[in-house]
Symmetry: C2
Subunit: 380 residues, 2 copies
């Protein structure tokens, strides 16, 4: 039989021997599921071409050279080496650029081509295994996945911080926040249609298989329907939302202090939230999720100029992260002034610690005071 | 950084701890790279919807019930159980349906729904580990990957045969042949354009990164170009060829007797071949590869009616396997009567034993006697 993998964000393909609680993950499996993509220059280029991302880190470093000048820096997940190079150009005495994949060879070449081999040392290996000759003043890293925590790379940053950051050290970025807001979108209708289409196709297939090939497959209709429902309607989507699609106030559901967060803190995101609808006579089609990070330094050693990188819906300043869309099905009619009270719960998939599973619930309190009953959704 | 996998046939993503010579493959990695797709009903349905495939196996079984009546049968890689069920309906005394993924549960349900649970025993496990209570008279399996050997599932069939087939036993299918033929196609131009486009984009990116962000990435232009070339021009493609695209006689490059083939026999496909051009004034754009399998029984116990399943280019009888296209770049001008003498060599990728790497070389002997020099291509 011919076989191929669908490249779908949030798909459940792949497995790991580790559990969501942080037990050892098989390295071969982790490579097949996660690391391998980062070994490709094409993928690095995609990230390096994200102007908003690049501008934010560039400004964070060069408007705060006091944090770098004469200091020791660690770049976690260095990729092609850009952050390490900027740190050196900002005056760092020494930069350790740790990269788990063979991309490290390319980083080494770029460092040399920019004449910084005396300052930047590229180390190929995983952050959990690497041994540095000294502790560092700054840890800089671009670790954020879709909706911040997908890919769970922050674990490696925490590990680096606990082992290698001086007590006076600074994190770049220093803080991260996750946001959700109610949205309207055509995606729900689209996915509903795709699901219905798929079920029609199944019915025809089951008929044919019975009439033509003498095998009754109708016992699989229910599991097939569940599998397809999960795929089309219960898998969060990557999308580039327009600000006009945000129909209510955004609410923060997670705040991370990168200096103090532990792996336990980020294993689960669990929060109630409230949102006020800002558009008249509209449909609640789902929720959009995004994040921002800030470069504030630390209280005792703050940034001279604070920089923020946000991935909120934007006309001109979109990023490759887009937003994550959690569809609600069917949509609900709402209007300006309605209060949305919800709870959001997200944790790591047992089958693949790099992926997440989420649960949403929401009640609508209309201005009249009337309450539309709570509904709950499981989403991966 | 956001990350996603491209769903490309022949892509190199993933790795295994095993080497191409057949050493142990890490099971977790093998699941992440290969088995996981087969656990989805959607994927099973795609294969079950392939009418040519279904007709061939259906006819092979029901036109040769003498091979099944009162016999013990083993279905290797049973999937949803269809072949096992047909074997039972054809009169088998006992059918063992072995399936490595959780699809086995669905197979069990289908068997029960068709009232065959007394005959068909579904066993969830890998063929290499499973223990059967008896040897069998027939091994039936649909193991063929793109261009026959991709996915290397035949290893499991050989293992089953060597352990569980009686000395008098029969293989379904009994034989397999791999074919190549010269083709014309627009894909080469398309991929060339995509490659050029990608390089243009890279040049602009490298300029911007230098001028705007102060980092010279030009040292990566060459490796990027190699990576992109490999991706666009040196990766075999899945395609559904029209017979009109075949511009010369097909040549067989591998013949397999399923009763006697060993894993060593199929580790490598290495063959010279000759093809005569059948179209006037055309372009040799590459080679198309496909396979067929036959159900002939065995010499001492032949099929009453031989059935063949072919995946050759066809207007009406295409299959989900399509054909594999190996592009030649640039194309060569050829005409009717020209002789193409080539050699083809294909073996398993070291990084992932489920994928293949191929090497092609070809010389064109024109009717005038003039010889166009040999050119060689490495393709994955």
């Amino acid at each position: 039989m011919g076989s191929y993998k669908n490249g779908v964000v949030g798909d459940q393909s792949g497995t790991s021997n580790g559990d969501a609680g942080g037990a050892a993950v098989d390295k071969g499996v982790d490579f097949a599921n996660y690391f391998c993509t980062y070994a490709f220059l094409y993928h690095q280029k995609e990230m390096l071409s994200d102007r908003v991302r690049m501008d934010a880190y560039y400004n964070a470093v060069f408007k705060n050279t006091h944090h770098f000048h004469g200091k020791a820096v660690l770049d976690v997940g260095a990729g092609s080496g850009i952050l390490a190079i900027w740190s050196a150009q900002a005056g760092a005495r020494k930069v350790y650029a740790v990269e788990a994949t063979s991309m490290a060879e390319h980083a080494r070449a770029v460092v040399k081509a920019n004449n910084l081999q005396d300052v930047v040392e590229v180390i190929e290996g995983s952050m959990e295994d690497v041994v540095l000759p000294e502790k560092v003043d700054v840890i800089i890293s671009e670790w954020m996945g879709y909706f911040l925590l997908r890919e769970s790379m922050f674990d490696s940053v925490i590990c680096a911080r606990d082992r290698w950051l001086k007590p006076t050290g600074v994190m770049y970025p220093s803080h991260a926040t996750m946001w959700v807001a109610p949205i309207r979108t055509g995606l729900g209708d689209q996915k509903s249609n795709d699901y219905e289409s798929s079920m029609d196709h199944w019915e025809r297939f089951a008929d044919e298989t019975k009439n033509y090939y003498g095998v009754d497959m109708s016992v699989l209709t229910k599991p097939f329907s569940q599998e397809q429902k999960k795929y089309y309607l219960q898998t969060s989507l990557w999308n580039n939302l327009h600000p006009h699609q945000v129909i209510g106030t955004a609410a923060s559901i997670k705040e991370i202090d990168c200096l103090t967060a532990s792996v336990t803190d980020i294993l689960e995101v669990k929060s109630n939230f409230s949102s006020t609808v800002t558009l008249q006579n509209t449909r609640l089609c789902g929720y959009g999720g995004w994040f921002d990070v800030q470069f504030r330094g630390r209280k005792e050693d703050p940034a001279q100029e604070e920089v923020e990188l946000t991935t909120a819906p934007s006309v001109n300043d979109g990023t490759h992260w887009g937003q994550q869309v959690f569809l609600l099905n069917p949509p609900a009619r709402i209007t300006e002034g309605d209060q949305l009270n919800g709870s959001f719960s997200m944790k790591r998939s047992k089958e693949n610690h790099r992926l997440m599973e989420a649960e949403f619930s929401c009640e609508i309190r209309q201005q009249s005071g009337e309450l539309v009953p709570r509904f709950t959704k499981d989403i991966s």
